[in-house]
């Protein structure tokens, strides 16, 4: 491999990985608080991309405005999903919540198929994303530069919220002990709602950037990125935010690099990632940063 392709592929892997990281956060935060795998998260990602698409293509709003509106609206969708689907089964056995999550996922996918149709739509990305930028000897597309930069900024913002704000402190305490958090006078349902909002906002940002990278969107576009981000969350240690970030970058790099080094395997790129998921589940189910599971009493 020449230095030129190495740089290109590295940037490619990092930008893909940063998107997985953004999505993985949503899985890991909800799991950390509710011990629920939110299967609908991958479809929230799709919803975000569609919102941006409509604001740009149909309402002709400026790009930045569209993206921000889409993120805000998707956050609201996440809160509505929690309120309408998950809160009613909060005290039910965990498997009921899990099945509900699968149901919400199918619902959103099919709602998309019915309302916007199955035919993929061309996503108009802003010019900066398609412009080619030279890095050393390599020429890298704008997407591969901007996506990691924007993602890292969002991840930094997230870490700030979780570790430096009051509501972030409540999120961390809910994830250790819901009941005692209630005894602190915290309205736990509201904290959970904010958690869904933040996770969904990041998924929307991920969806929009994904659509900039692969500018065709369809109602089932979330499924594969969702599964891989879920893999990233597990590999990083589910429930652990930093772990999800590390897992995301790792999965993105592994996916791109296996294909780059062994082009013959390019048909197996998804299979390789899911094999990695299985290997982790077998050997280290708590992931890279996860602590040994202690069942909550």
């Amino acid at each position: 491999m020449t230095l030129e392709t190495l740089i290109q592929q590295l940037m490619n892997g990092i930008s893909l990985g940063s998107l997985y990281a953004l999505i993985a956060i949503g899985y890991t935060m909800v799991y950390g608080i509710l011990r629920l795998i939110n299967f609908a998260h991958s479809d929230i990602f799709m919803v975000g991309a569609y919102f941006a698409f409509f604001f740009v293509a149909v309402f002709h709003l400026p790009w930045a405005v569209s993206a921000i509106l889409a993120v805000v609206l998707t956050a609201a969708v996440g809160m509505i999903v929690d309120r309408a689907a998950y809160r009613p089964v909060r005290n039910a056995p965990r498997i009921s919540a899990l099945i509900t999550a699968v149901g919400v996922s199918f619902f959103l996918e099919n709602l998309g198929l019915v309302t916007v149709g199955a035919r993929p739509k061309a996503f108009q990305r802003p010019d900066v994303m398609s412009k080619v930028v030279p890095i050393g000897p390599a020429a890298v597309s704008g997407v591969s530069i901007w996506v990691p930069i924007l993602s890292l900024a969002l991840l930094a913002l997230l870490l700030f919220i979780v570790h430096r704000t009051k509501v972030g402190m409540a999120m961390r305490s809910v994830s250790t002990d819901i009941e005692t958090t209630r005894l602190m006078g915290v309205d736990v349902d509201r904290v959970i709602s904010y958690t869904f909002a933040i996770g969904s906002a990041l998924a929307a940002a991920g969806g929009i950037m994904w659509a900039c990278k692969y500018p065709q969107i369809n109602p089932l576009m979330g499924i594969y990125p969702g599964w891989k981000a879920f893999t990233a969350a597990v590999v990083g240690g589910i429930g652990n935010i930093t772990g999800a970030m590390i897992g995301g970058f790792l999965i993105g790099l592994v996916e791109i690099m296996t294909v780059a080094v062994l082009p013959g395997l390019s048909g197996y790129r998804d299979g390789i990632i899911f094999t990695l998921l299985l290997v982790f589940l077998l050997i280290r189910p708590t992931g890279i940063l996860g602590e040994p599971l202690k069942e909550k009493v």
């Binding site: 009051k166 402190m169 409540a170 961390r172 305490s173 994830s175 250790t176 002990d177 009941e179 005692t180 958090t181 209630r182 005894l183 602190m184 006078g185 915290v186 309205d187 736990v188």
Partner: protein, 234 residues
């Protein structure tokens, strides 16, 4: 301050509280003694809204709070030191204390109370930026009490604060309770150390398998033959 009337609580099919009535007057120290499984913790959990009463009423400062969510009750001036301390292991000592002050907006008052709690328990100050999970059992208990105080409660409920503590630390916790009480806080105390609790209490209730079987001023029960036999090991 607090009135329980004919309170019934069930856990599934188990009738855990069978019609409890008790009064906690403003400014008093009230204690609840009884064997394991008698329903002491359940009483506190019902007061703080963690379990719902099937029948009966709970009145706080003249307001009916039966069936209200925990965060509402806590915001109405009740704080609880739960059984087993339940400090947030992954939060720092300072964050644990700040969690106690979660509903409050008055930053100046919060800072002042942070000072106050650290004068009550100077050890906490030394451990401020350590994770709660790294503290020793006694320090965790002090943190749990300090955290409850950070909400400036009118009524402080404590569930076995001396459990598992060395006698020296136990005295320290009880000394702190006396000081908190002197500052005007009403206290509802559950203790398995019945002797220490009865000495401290203005009035006490004895709970047996979900019902109150005896009540009276603390020193009086301390002299009572049946109580001495059952709970003081004499």
């Amino acid at each position: 301050m607090l009135k329980l009337r004919d309170l019934h609580v069930y856990y599934g099919g188990i009738h855990a509280l069978k019609g409890i009535s008790m009064d906690v007057p403003e400014g008093a120290i009230i204690t609840l003694i009884g064997a394991n499984g008698a329903g002491k913790s359940t009483t506190l959990r019902a007061i703080t809204g963690l379990v719902k009463a099937r029948r009966g009423s709970i009145e706080l400062k003249g307001k009916n709070i039966t069936g209200r969510p925990s965060h509402y009750i806590v915001r109405s001036g009740v704080a609880m030191v739960p059984e087993g301390r339940k400090i947030f292991r992954n939060l720092t000592v300072r964050e644990n204390l700040m969690m106690g002050a979660y509903p409050r907006q008055d930053n100046a008052g919060i800072q002042q109370d942070l000072e106050w709690v650290t004068t009550l328990f100077p050890r906490l100050k030394e451990r401020f930026s350590q994770k709660g999970g790294t503290l020793s059992g006694g320090e965790q208990q002090m943190l749990a009490v300090g955290r409850a105080l950070m909400s400036r409660p009118r009524l402080l409920c404590l569930d076995e604060p001396s459990l598992g503590l060395a006698p020296v630390l136990m005295h320290e916790v009880f000394r702190a309770l006396t000081r908190i009480h002197e500052e005007g806080c009403t206290i509802l105390l559950i203790e398995q150390n019945a002797k220490a609790a009865l000495k401290l209490a203005d009035y006490a209730y004895v709970l047996e398998t979900g019902s109150i079987t005896m009540e009276g001023p603390g020193p009086e029960l301390l002299q009572n033959e049946a109580v001495r036999k059952a709970y003081l090991g004499e």
